[in-house]
Symmetry: C2
Subunit: 546 residues, 2 copies
């Protein structure tokens, strides 16, 4: 297999392992824990895995040499560093006892159910150390949530003499990991399940999980590109760049990139929702900034837009809800109408408020909302090109202002969407080290008999030596939420906190960034060279932990 | 001004200067030169700057300490390294004599004509050493081609006691630099003009110019992103990514990125033209690769498409030509028709062959071709989303094949366009060094009384110490070409050579790349670390010079 010069040299990187994970370690247990909300319901649903203590690894007296085979699963979207979780787990498992084996289930949780797996050997693993991607064993979106899946998985677990399964995933995958842990515990199968916090979106974090892996690398990759575009923007001085960033539920990515690059505008979905802003409010706000820069002769700028914005605009959220219901009820007659008749049909059936919202939307977007439904009957929000929608509406607004003599200038928008560029980047030093430590922690949680825990690594803004490691009971992070019409126990998703330090830091500066040109050009991720270039955490983490 | 950690550390990088440019140097002159074609016409048009010898710098006996002020102009689109040409020029000019001054004309050639300039001071320059972008003095697209512009420029040249103007630009800007040099020489104004080869497109190269600056950094930045997407593609295993790459006239960028990342497919416009391929040929070719991968269960892949492809498809080129003429002649009546009537109008007026081509185009593209014209009456090809057009047509073809039982699989396309992300990236070590050497050469050409030359640096695949430097008469690279209906002397553009080593290397491997998954992940540009990671040239240059 031909590999790049960077991969060749980077393969030899030995992730820095925190002192707490070196040598003989033992477990220090804290007080029993509670779920973050709905304690009674969660306790009832997880009688065997509820209330367990937080655990931390501290120096021990003698090395554990437990014989144990382990299975690993990558679940959901890619995030930089997944291969290093596997490396850390592998090295720790082999370090316990060289006879131990690590099995990788292929293409996600489905590999466990369908018994598709490989044994991970040292030679095979070496090709993937410190690389991005999930191509080592593949990932998938099969949800592990049914008893028959759990039982089917048990067959291969028994066959391979596997002691524990490690599931690397986001909030939903870790919720399912906990359900599986509870099931195997209730059945007394003696099979442990450990989770690892993965997602570039950064929305799996809380008091115990400082950050999810991949967020660091992905946001640095996007910030490199945004910085490059800012520099182009500031050189050509004639375009407004509208950049949509991946991250449907939360705006952590957009906020982090804004902190790194200081664009003129960055929208934060959580703020839009909290302030009950309309699409028109947002458009007016940006158009005002465009007009005010134009008045100083600056007909250029950069705007960051989180992918999920449109669903967070309350009026549009309500419209989408009513449209979903309307089309579910009347979809069949409706389908055969022509475009104009469909529009009429919708307008005549919508409530007054939603009708008003619908009428403000540009034709293409209205059409998108009234037509394409995913297999569950939901509008496919990701197909809406929010960045183009918004810039088009700004253009209309500016034309109107021009006629009214309120604006003079040129407005030439360009559009970008960054997502796939960052999910499989080679992990930064931070993610390479963090993931390796997470994998090591997972192995030690297994060796210490834990199940229903997620591996955690804390104190991550300090130098790697001083990082702390341990585990958090997954039930501790849960509450009850409505999913597909039913109340379900789920890990609470972390949205951008409007009272949090990162957002406050941003709001204290954004007016200046909008008026002036304060761009910062972070450049590409560096693996060698000065530590202040290579080993910076995200701004979000630095501000949250300061 | 707040700057990133990378910028802080990178500011201190001292570009490696070839030995040939260190210390005292003198000029070695070669034989008189000829233009590449149309020698009689070019000679007649450039009586004062035609036939001059190639020059090379060799070690000299005593240091020149000439007093001279110099003016610098950035012309056209941004390319990484422009600031380093200015740094090299500045340091060399000051090294000749500390009293010398360097003036930067602002926002391109227009700055010379309109007398907008700044003096470049050491403190000011230090903020821009080794940075990307043209924001130091800005760039612009004003064409220097009229005598009144030359005379207006002379006023400020006299006022500032400027001995020479350095113009950093692509083929057209350097052609204009030569026209200016000829004019000032003919008038015996004693003002010299020197060019520098800039363009990320890579199409300003020939026997004397090994590569244009910026190509190295831009293609490495795009290759980083393509590699990341390939890794994502190979992990998720469910998308076909269609990636359009900047570069309207030539496909050097697409070819170089293909050599670096080994995608499944890369289209080369020059080949499409040479083989007289139709859009349908291209679509069938890619659809066959999709179908053949699908038959092996590989419903994923990566396709690179050069931005200018559509104009190189001969049938579409002819159609565009006829449409331009048709709409120029009948534009006014036509404008008031509705969409359907416009389509009818066009179909009834086109020749049979072009009508047939027009009818094969998807509605949106046909509409684009029949509607929006730029101020010169030309179709705005860059507004056509070629990557979406092609993937849409492939989807249709695959559906047809599915009905005919010839194809089974899933085809989910995703689209990207990379251009603005790379034009202002911080220069790679190669571009940082190469540009600094070009700036130094420009200063020495001036000090040696040369005009109508471009600064050149050769032997660039060897280590920097051994690079050679000198100058090439711009007339040597010229031939006569039709521009806006008139024959003009212009620098011959370098398209991808179908007999050249880079293309041959590619064609020898592309069938394997299409069938198998041979992706290479180059990762981000590194500035520190192992030399084989940090100091690689492009594959194109390595293959051409081997």
């Amino acid at each position: 297999m031909e590999i790049s010069a960077l991969q060749k040299e980077r393969a030899g990187y030995q992730p820095k392992l925190p002192k707490a994970l070196q040598g003989a370690v033992k477990i220090k247990e804290g007080e029993p824990t509670q779920s973050v909300d709905n304690q009674e319901e969660i306790k009832k649903l997880f009688p065997n895995t509820y209330g367990m203590p937080l655990v931390e690894f501290i120096p021990g007296d003698e090395k554990n040499s437990l014989e144990m085979n382990v299975g690993i699963i990558l679940s959901g979207g890619q995030a930089p560093g997944g291969h290093n979780v596997i490396s850390g787990l592998f090295d720790a498992v082999k370090n316990l006892n060289p006879n131990n084996r690590l099995y990788g289930f292929l293409m996600g949780p489905g590999g466990l159910v369908d018994h598709n797996y490989i044994e991970i050997t040292p030679e095979f693993l070496d090709e993937y150390r410190n690389t991005g991607g999930f191509d080592m064993i593949g990932s998938g979106r099969t949800k592990l949530e049914k008893e028959e899946q759990f039982e089917k998985g048990l067959e291969i677990i028994r066959e391979l003499n596997i002691k524990a399964i490690v599931i690397i995933g986001g909030d939903d995958s870790n919720t399912n990991a906990c359900v599986l842990a509870e099931y195997y515990a209730a059945k007394k199968y003696g099979v442990q399940v450990i989770g690892c916090p993965k997602t570039i979106d950064g929305d799996l974090k809380n008091d115990q999980i400082e950050t999810s892996f991949g967020f660091d690398t992905a946001t640095k990759t996007y910030s490199e590109l945004i910085g490059n575009i800012e520099r182009d923007c500031n050189s050509a001085r004639k375009y407004w760049h509208f950049i949509k960033l991946m991250g449907r539920s939360a705006s952590h990515i957009a906020l982090e990139c804004a902190l790194q690059t200081q664009p003129n505008i960055c929208l934060i979905s959580e703020e839009v929702e909290a302030k009950d802003q309309t699409l028109n409010d947002i458009v007016e706000q940006i158009a005002s900034a465009v007009a005010s820069r134009a008045a100083q002769g600056q007909n250029f700028g950069v705007v960051l837009i989180p992918e999920g914005l449109i669903e967070f605009i309350p009026a549009i959220g309500r419209l989408i809800q009513e449209l979903n219901d309307l089309l579910a009820a009347h979809g069949d007659d409706y389908k055969d109408l022509d475009k104009a008749a469909q529009r009429e049909y919708i307008l005549s059936h919508l409530s007054e408020a939603n009708k008003a919202t619908f009428e403000t939307l540009p034709e293409g977007v209205a059409r998108q909302l009234s037509l394409d439904r995913d297999p569950h009957g939901n509008v496919q929000v990701s197909l809406i090109e929010t960045e183009k929608l918004i810039s088009e509406m700004i253009g209309d607004k500016l034309n109107q202002w021009k006629k009214e003599g309120k604006y003079e200038g040129k407005f030439s928008p360009l559009h970008h969407f960054f997502g796939y560029e960052g999910r499989c980047a080679a992990p930064s030093n931070f993610d390479a080290d963090y993931c390796y430590a997470l994998g090591t922690s997972a192995a030690l949680l297994i060796a210490n008999g834990k199940t229903g825990y997620m591996a955690i690594v804390k104190n991550t803004t300090d130098k790697t030596d001083n990082w702390k490691a341990g585990g958090v009971p997954i039930t501790m992070m849960m509450n009850m939420e409505r999913r597909n019409g039913e109340m379900k126990p789920v890990i609470r998703k972390a949205l951008v906190e409007l009272e949090g330090e990162p957002f406050k830091f941003f709001t204290a500066r954004r007016d200046k960034w909008a008026k002036e040109t304060c761009y910062i050009y972070p450049g590409p991720i560096q693996y060698w060279g000065p530590s202040d270039v290579c080993d910076q955490t995200t701004k979000t983490l630095a501000l949250e932990q300061k």
